[in-house]
């Protein structure tokens, strides 16, 4: 390796100016996208359970066929043009932000094992010097049982990576990110 990568620094309290005021992307996959529609509500909470009103969540996902819209995805499938694959939004006073998307398909994992449907998450905020990576899986999906990444997580903590169905909305899913504390979400060293 010839060059040391540039260190990360916090987005600070005013990230909205540069990132989310004009350039939020809440529709990851529009109404024409193939697959099961998902309305995702996330919340970001600190050690004491207090909501963060100055965080940003970024999401990267495959389309409903399990294809990433990226040249390095070697699968012989074409990307769904109605699925952008990327979203980002800032959190409001309740620590929440919402996305409209489709449930991703299964993508290849290590050693000929397919991964369970999941969203890749980056969390940014004041007080976070280097973004936190986590994943959102869908509670009740039988593929979770054989997912090679969930298998790396101690069983008692896997629950923190599962979005739960929103009882108030068909197709709605809820996911709370606990940055720290008793219910701390699993974060990955990527």
């Amino acid at each position: 390796m010839e060059y040391i990568p540039t260190p990360s620094q916090t987005v600070g309290p005013y990230l909205r100016i540069g990132l989310t005021e004009k350039n939020s992307i809440r529709t990851i996959a529009g109404p024409n996208a193939k697959g099961e529609r998902v309305w995702l509500k996330c919340r970001v909470l600190d050690r004491d359970g207090a909501p963060l009103n100055d965080a940003m969540i970024e999401i990267w996902q495959a389309d409903s066929a399990g294809k990433y819209n990226h040249p390095e995805d070697p699968q012989a499938k074409t990307s769904d043009p109605a699925c952008r694959g990327f979203g980002r939004a800032g959190t409001g006073e309740d620590g929440g932000c919402e996305f409209e998307t489709v449930k991703p398909g299964r993508v290849p994992g290590p050693g000929n094992v397919l991964q369970a449907p999941h969203l890749n998450i980056g969390v940014f905020a004041r007080g976070i010097l280097l973004q936190l990576y986590t994943r959102i899986y869908f509670a009740g999906d039988p593929a979770n049982e054989e997912d090679p990444v969930l298998a790396l997580v101690p069983e008692e903590r896997r629950e923190t990576l599962l979005a739960k169905p929103d009882p108030t909305q068909p197709g709605g899913w809820l996911f709370d990110i606990h940055l720290c504390g008793e219910n701390e979400t699993v974060f990955f060293d990527v």
Binding site: Y3, S8, P13, Q115, Y133
Partner: protein
């Protein structure tokens, strides 16, 4: 190579960050890191297709004045006009072309155009403080802006942030995503700033400091600063056909 035989499992992983070259996450001198970062260890994730891909297409179009923060209003902003330019490279020294860079910053007086910024310094009606651009085919980018002022914050008594411009860069993969801050050479506040000091490795810290460059400086117009950005790169050169 037989692509079909390999497509299910073969991906090129990326380099991991060398120890000490990224910030300590829960860094006590920067107080809010303690309640906003995990206390449990992170789980090591071998790179899969999910990490080595990322949003390279489909960003919203760039407008003509998006990379010139001095031309976004009817008049010119107050302050020192500067040119900030550089290259985005990976850690193998390869340019990262066509990648989105977004910046935001305080004005010359050290005030952000944000409702929560209560620093009693004037707003500038001719300065919004946000810009975006794409790198060219050689990884080069360029912004024209004004030099931001230092500003106070509440982390500790008499806390001041060194002047900085926030930089957001995507790169090729979700794992190359970088949000950092560009500092100015010789700032006396470095020694007192826990955000800058959160990076243990001295050489890595210096990556965040731009360099004054007389060659870039335009006579009778603006000082030039060079700021190269290095993202993580793949472990091996992918086989090209």
């Amino acid at each position: 190579m037989d692509r079909l035989a390999n497509e299910r499992s073969i991906i090129t992983p990326y380099h991991r960050h060398p120890p000490g070259t990224q910030p300590i996450r829960a860094y006590e001198p920067y107080k809010s890191t303690v309640e906003r970062n995990p206390a449990k260890p992170l789980i090591f994730l071998p790179h899969t297709l999910s990490e080595i891909t990322g949003p390279v297409y489909g960003h919203d179009p760039i407008a003509e004045t998006d990379n010139d923060l001095t031309r976004q209003h009817a008049g010119e902003p107050q302050g020192e006009r500067i040119i900030v330019t550089g290259r985005v490279l990976d850690d193998n020294g390869r340019p990262v072309p066509n990648t989105l860079i977004e910046i935001w910053q305080a004005n010359a007086a050290g005030r952000y155009l944000h409702q929560r910024d209560q620093h009693p310094a004037p707003l500038d009606p001719n300065f919004s403080g946000a810009g975006r651009t794409l790198t060219d085919e050689n990884g080069n980018y360029r912004f024209v802006t004004i030099k931001p002022g230092p500003y106070p914050w509440f982390n500790h008594y008499n806390a001041w942030r060194p002047a900085h411009i926030h930089f957001s860069v995507f790169g090729r993969a979700f794992l190359t995503r970088l949000i950092t801050q560009m500092y100015f050479p010789g700032d006396p506040l470095f020694a007192y700033d826990p955000i800058y000091q959160s990076v243990p490795d001295e050489k890595a810290r210096q990556r965040m400091i731009s360099k004054f460059d007389l060659e870039l400086t335009q006579p009778q117009w603006a000082l030039g600063f060079r700021f190269d950005i290095v993202l993580r790169g793949p472990e091996a050169t992918p086989f090209e056909t």
